[in-house]
């Protein structure tokens, strides 16, 4: 029984230990992304952690990345992207599209 529990635990632990997904952090301040440009490796899944430092909500949106997520004021949100071909993938804040513009550069 304990062995079975051990195997099950191992099965849950292994993917997290092996699949070391690179993490990239982006901040939203005054309806701007910091940094505006994120460089990520090609053909690799990465995790974006977005911190919304504004009091107002924002929606991370990208047609090219097929991503869309609401980030409430003062909160953070995770978004996985990739594996992607090399290129430039723009994203924007749907609630402030005039200022909140950024891009993911895959290289």
């Amino acid at each position: 029984m304990t062995r079975l529990a051990g195997i099950i635990l191992l099965l849950f632990w292994l993917p997290t230990a092996w699949g070391k997904t690179p993490v990239f952090e982006v901040e939203i301040r005054d309806h701007l992304f910091h940094p505006e440009e994120i460089h990520i490796p090609a053909n690799t899944k990465v995790k974006l952690v977005l911190y919304n430092r504004d009091a107002t909500p924002e929606e991370f949106e990208s047609y090219e990345l097929n991503r869309e997520k609401v980030i409430m004021g003062g909160r953070k949100a995770n978004i996985f992207i990739g594996p992607l071909e090399p290129g430039t993938y723009p994203f924007f804040g749907e609630f402030n599209p005039k200022t909140a513009q950024g891009r993911v550069v895959v290289e």
Partner: protein, 260 residues
């Protein structure tokens, strides 16, 4: 801010309006009237307010996947409702009227909870900023107005079709809307790494950009993606197969029942 508000709210309203218009047109052509649509409003209102106000805790739930999982669940449930609608239409008899109206009201409530919560979050977030209030409220009303008008236009167009075409046209649109919902749900699950994304099947962004007006319209009806992942593509096809199965199995069943 005015123009951004118009576009944002229009996008959200349009997605819901397409589904509502098709269901209303189908209901009318089955002689079920339109009054049942009011049943769905209290649930949609309470649901979207609750959804919006718990977005903070929801986002952090399930190790940061809560928002996506909840939205995906809503979309899959709308899809299930549309399959049931297609099935009931296939075995149709006026005795099934109440059931049909209930399932349709359910589909609309669920769709409005998702779209409505985003509108609440946006409007309540920015209308609280005194400098922006007027622009946000005016822009949102305009966006909602345009979205609802387009919905009315779709409804009237469906109703203006020759009678023999009305039901097939509604069902075909419903199948596409349902499959689009499943595809959006799979995108959300890829976003939180619950589904493996994989590389895009194709890139039709040069042909129809998702950000263009035609792209937005295609998105609202078909769940159009310029760069779908293999999982999205597969689930889209599977949803269409489920719809076609519901369509033919219900007709087969009805024929058998009529023979007895």
């Amino acid at each position: 801010m005015l123009l951004s508000s118009v576009i944002l709210i229009l996008r959200e309203v349009l997605e819901a309006a397409v589904l509502v218009s098709v269901l209303l047109a189908l209901s009318r052509s089955l002689g079920q009237g339109l009054r049942w649509v009011w049943w769905s409003l209290p649930l949609a209102l309470v649901g979207s307010l609750w959804f919006a106000s718990s977005m903070d805790t929801l986002t952090d739930a399930l190790d940061g996947a809560g928002q996506e999982v909840a939205n995906a669940a809503l979309q899959v449930l709308v899809f299930v409702c549309t399959v049931v609608v297609v099935f009931i239409e296939g075995v149709w008899s006026p005795r099934l009227g109440l059931m049909m109206r209930l399932v349709m009201a359910c589909a609309i409530s669920l769709a409005l909870i998702r779209e409505g919560s985003e509108i609440w979050i946006y409007v309540s977030g920015f209308a609280a900023v005194p400098d922006l209030r007027a622009a946000v409220l005016t822009g949102s009303s305009m966006g909602a107005g345009i979205g609802i008008s387009l919905g009315v236009l779709l409804y009237s167009s469906l109703r203006a079709l020759p009678v023999a075409w009305q039901r097939p046209a509604c069902l075909a649109l419903l199948a596409l809307i349902g499959a689009g919902m499943v595809m959006q749900a799979s995108m959300l699950l890829e976003q939180v790494d619950w589904l493996e994304a994989g590389e895009a099947l194709w890139d039709s962004a040069a042909l129809v950009s998702e950000g263009s007006i035609s792209g937005e319209l295609l998105y609202a009806v078909f769940g159009y993606e310029a760069t779908p992942s293999p999982v999205q593509g597969a689930l889209y096809m599977a949803s269409l197969v489920a719809m076609v199965t519901a369509y033919y199995s219900s007709r087969f069943l009805r024929k058998r029942l009529n023979e007895q």
